[in-house]
Assembly symmetry: C2
Homo-oligomer: 364 residues x 2
């Protein structure tokens, strides 16, 4: 049994974020740990995502592939490297959608908040996300009601990249009312889970999911959250793993902003009022994780990785004089516009491209 197969079978047999599991896998290898788990009977039935014997993994992967679902393990090129430095990193990720997850996550921000948001929170989310997604930042959220949905929708509306991280399998729609939204994200962005398809959204899985949202991104923006709110759990995770925490100030008379304003009072979060302020803070984050991207002309010691074939196609679709719109770049490169936008953002950070008056142009 190869490592990849063992790892995928193991990911089907244990709960996300099981304490000590990642360490054990690093020590003994996935095959030995899988053997151990299967022999011990594994965690109690009902809590386990799904049991599968290693020899059935290839057939499962083939079935999933027909449904447009791929699986990523840490050694895969598309696996986001910044997930390796969070506590209990995922054993595997299931992904639906055209976005390259590693590329999308390099320049990404989590936008989360209250499910019971106010019209103010929805409006603020729309404006700030439009500013971020429109300039190449990938918007990562949890597809929940309220702020999460507003964030995904605003990103889609400006043709930006968005990633929904679920607490259930990527083949299920949770909440049900967001089935159409999740289909659209799967068509244009990416729907991600560390649970195998078919897994139900059990309560404890949301906490594990929140650590993934915080870990995938450079920073977390909380738009609205009451004093006791799931969004604050994601905020705490972001702080714990050294990501930047940002909040949108709100009226002190609004319960929906009481948790976010408290984070400001305690000086653990930075206040941001628009996409530009958020982008500036996110761009300033360097070296906080192995995936840190050097900024153009910056003093980063992380060397720019070699360009991928896709990135090269995007670069070749640009001219040195005169800007080209994202649509033009998409047509010339033969890549979807959203993929082009993600690459343009990263190419900009590396100093390869620059924003011109009317679109993008190549540097140097």
């Amino acid at each position: 049994m190869d490592e990849r197969t063992a790892r995928i079978a193991l990911a089907c047999a244990v709960e996300p974020g099981t304490p000590g599991m990642a360490e054990r896998v690093a020590e003994l290898g996935p095959a030995a740990v899988l053997h151990e788990v299967l022999r011990a009977g594994g965690p109690p039935p009902g809590t386990v995502p799904g049991r599968i014997s290693p020899e059935d993994v290839p057939a499962m992967l083939a079935t999933m592939a027909r449904a447009g679902i791929r699986v990523l393990v840490p050694d895969d090129t598309e696996f986001p490297s910044q997930l390796s430095d969070i506590p209990e990193p995922p054993l595997a990720l299931w992904v639906r959608g055209p976005l390259d997850l590693r590329v999308a996550a390099m320049r990404s921000v989590a936008v989360v908040g209250s499910r019971a948001c106010t019209p103010y929170g929805e409006r603020a989310t729309g404006a700030i996300v439009a500013g971020l997604a429109g300039t190449g930042w990938t918007i990562v959220s949890g597809a929940a009601f309220g702020i999460d949905a507003a964030a995904h929708r605003s990103a889609l509306a400006v043709g930006g990249a968005t990633v929904a991280v679920l607490a259930c399998g990527v083949d299920l729609a949770y909440p049900r009312a967001h089935e159409a939204l999740l289909c659209r994200i799967a068509d244009e962005g990416a729907v991600v889970s560390e649970l195998p398809p078919g897994s139900a959204p059990l309560r404890h899985r949301f906490l594990a999911r929140n650590r993934l949202i915080a870990g995938l991104t450079r920073g977390t923006l909380v738009v609205e959250a009451a004093r006791r709110s799931g969004a604050l759990a994601t905020a705490n995770r972001a702080l714990e793993i050294g990501r930047i925490l940002m909040v949108v100030p709100g009226p002190v008379t609004s319960m929906a902003s009481s948790g976010t304003n408290r984070l400001l009072h305690e000086q653990v979060a930075r206040a941001v009022c628009d996409g530009e302020e958020a982008a500036a803070l996110l761009a300033a984050v360097e070296g906080s994780s192995p995936s840190a991207v050097p900024t153009a002309g910056g003093a980063s010691t992380v060397s720019a990785p070699a360009l991928s074939e896709e990135a090269r196609r995007v670069l070749d679709a640009l001219a040195r004089r005169g800007g080209r719109s994202v649509e033009e770049v998409a047509a010339r490169s033969g890549l979807p516009a959203v993929t082009c936008l993600a690459h343009l953002g990263i190419l900009e950070l590396h100093g390869h491209v620059r924003r011109a008056a009317h679109g993008w142009r190549r540097c140097g």
Copy 2:
């Protein structure tokens, strides 16, 4: 000619905040500087508060006393000592009202903001000021439209102490529409100016006035301010002289909160959502100026000053067991309730009194 007379005559002959003036007075003495100013013809006519020859000062003071106006110079007991460590400290202060300015300023906070405030700003001011003024904090502001007026009114409404610092003489009402408000402040709190009675509210005098508001207080709270706002000038003054700066978060969609939210984004101000949060920050300020008051049981090296006769009367009106209300303390001490409240706040800081379930009680 005695020093006090010379200083008062000099204060009538020069503009507040004239660069180098305070230094010159410290070096040569007020009489010599006054002689110099009068001989040189002084600043251009129209800009000078009012010229008076030293021999007329006693008659002027008598006239003012009949109008309920007193004048304070730095050597007077009632002169707030923290004004001595600001740049260009005032030569003299004119005061109308029953509050002892030194006592009131020891535990005081500036509450300022936009003249064109929103209903949200007015509501937030009301709630936060009620929390502060109701627990013995003196509310200092500028009697302008908007946040200033809301701050004074809320302090008066809860029977708290409030001080209006004007950019004109204390005998004038500016703005005119606030004549009744200023009369009430003069009846129950204090109206203060470093300009002699009769001085007009000229444009440059507002900047000098703002430094006084920031300098008199332990900290400045800005409730609402647009990006270009006079309240931000006061905020900058507070920072320059090492006072704590606090702001009330507001909707990012509101122009009236754009300046305050910017201060949060830049991390130069602390966010506060209610009176309790503001009081905790203010109470934590120690040793930032020579007037710093040691907190009860704190490690301050500033020794508690001997009790004034008034403070002694307030202390004697309390019992060691069982709380007494401010009204009860007022009745027993024969002092106005607002004066009692100001003393109680300072006595609490020194550890002489403690807040009980129903009022105040004596310690030790």
